[in-house]
Amino acid sequence: MNNLKVFTNGLFRENPTFALLLGMCPTLGVTTSAGNGMGMGLATAFVLIMSNLVIALVANIIPDKIRIPSFIVIIAAFVTVVDLCMAAYLPALHASLGLFIPLIVVNCIVLGRAEAFASKNRVIPSIFDGLGMGLGFTFSLTLLGAIREFLGSGKMFNLSIYPDNFGMLIFVLAPGAFIALGYLIAIVNRIRAKH
C-alpha cells in the first residue's frame, strides 16, 4: 500500500467517526460549534501523528506483554504537551474544550491506530496514517459542529446566518448531538451504499 492510499484511507474509506464509530465522546461532547469541533479535531490529529511516529520507532524494543501500558504512557505524554500548549497560547479554546483535552488519552482512535497500524508498520506510513485518520476525524467533527451550530443558533463559524430566534435550541444541547450524528451517519451510509 502506498502512502497516498494510507492517507486517503483514513480520510474517507475508514473515516474514524462515520465508518469505525471510534472516539464518540469528544465527537458528541465538544461539537456545539464548528470552531470547537475543528480545535478538538486538530488537537487529536497532532497527538495521533506524534504518537504514531514515536510508536512506529520504538515498537520493536517493547516486549509484547507491556505493549499497551507503554503506548498509553507515550500517548499521555503527548496529550499533556497539547494540554499545556493550548492553555498557554489558546486559552479561550482550552477553556471551552475543558475536560475533553486530557481525555484524548482514552480516545479509542489514538490507541487503536497505535495498536493496529503504527506498531506493525514503518515510520513514514505511520505518519501518513496518523495524518489521514487525524484529518478525517477533524473533518467529521467540524462538519457535525457546523450542522449543530447552524441548526441550533443560526450561525456558522460564529458568523450569524439567520436570526437565532429561529434556531432549534435542542441541537446545541445534549439530545441534539446524538440525533444530528445519527442522521449524519445514516446519510453517509446511504451514499456509501450507492458507490
Binding site: I62, P63, I66, I74, T80, L84, P163, L173
Partner: protein, 226 residues
C-alpha cells in the same frame, strides 16, 4: 521487521521504566516552557476583563491596588479599584457562585462609584455548553447583530422584548432575582439555574463591595475628604 524483545520480567520493567522516565522528562520540559505563558494568559484575561467592565479609561494599575476579602461562606472576593487622576472611576469585583449547574461560576463585575452595575464579564464557568455560555451577552442590553439573511434581503426580525439587562441596576438597594422568583430580571431561556447562579454571584459582589466600603469609611473617616 526486527525481532521483538522477549517478554521476561527484567526487560518489561526496564522498558516500561525507561519510557515513563523519558515521557516524564519531556513533559516536565514542556511544562517549564509553558508555565510562564499560562500565567501571563491568566493575568491578561483578568486585565482584559477589568478593562471591559470599567467605563472610561483609568490611569492606575488596578492589579497593584487590589485587595481581597473573605465572604461569610468561606470564599474570597477580589476588588480592583480603577482610578483616573486619583478619582475613583469604579471598582471591578471578581466574584463567584457555587450554585451553578456544573460547578463554580466566576465573574468580573464592574460597579460605578454609586453602586450601580457598569458592566460584567464571565471569567469561567462549567455550565451546559451552548446554554450557559449565553451568560456572556444575555444580561447586557440587546445589541442586535444582523444576520446574513437579514442583510442580504434587507429586512429585520424583531425579537421579543426581554427584560434581562442588569446594567445600570443597583443590587445594593434591592437584591437581583429572576422574574420566576419575583424579581425583575428575565432568566435565560431553559437555563433558570444558571441565571439564578449568575445573579447570586452579582449580589455577592455588591454585598462585599458595600461591606468593604462601610468598613473603610468607619475606620478611616479622614479618607472621605480626599
Amino acid at each position: 521487521m526486527g525481532k521483538k524483545l522477549e517478554s521476561n520480567f527484567k526487560n518489561m520493567v526496564l522498558v516500561l521504566f525507561t519510557i515513563t522516565l523519558i515521557s516524564s522528562a519531556a513533559v516536565a520540559y514542556v511544562n517549564s516552557l509553558t508555565a510562564e505563558p499560562i500565567e501571563e494568559a491568566k493575568q491578561a484575561k483578568q486585565v482584559k476583563a477589568i478593562r471591559e467592565v470599567i467605563p472610561g479609561k483609568f490611569d492606575n494599575d488596578p492589579m497593584a491596588e487590589a485587595w481581597a476579602e473573605k465572604t461569610p461562606d468561606g470564599g474570597i472576593l477580589e476588588f480592583y479599584p480603577a482610578k483616573k487622576e486619583g478619582q475613583l472611576l469604579g471598582t471591578a469585583v471578581k466574584t463567584y457562585t457555587n450554585n451553578g449547574f456544573g460547578g463554580t461560576v466566576w465573574l468580573m463585575v464592574g460597579f460605578n462609584p454609586d453602586g450601580t452595575i457598569a458592566n460584567y464579564s464571565v471569567l469561567d464557568h462549567k455550565e451546559t455548553p451552548g446554554l450557559g455560555s449565553k451568560m456572556d451577552s444575555w444580561f447586557k442590553p440587546t445589541q442586535k447583530e444582523k444576520s446574513l439573511i437579514e442583510r442580504i434581503f434587507g429586512f429585520e426580525v424583531k425579537s421579543v422584548e426581554k427584560q434581562s439587562s442588569v446594567i445600570g441596576k443597583n443590587p445594593e438597594t434591592q437584591a437581583l432575582a429572576v422574574s420566576k422568583d419575583g424579581g425583575e430580571v428575565d432568566a435565560i431561556t431553559a437555563a433558570t439555574i444558571s441565571s439564578r447562579a449568575f445573579l447570586d454571584a452579582i449580589n455577592r459582589a455588591a454585598n462585599g463591595l458595600k461591606g468593604s466600603r462601610e468598613q473603610t469609611s468607619a475606620t478611616t473617616p479622614e479618607n472621605k475628604n480626599n
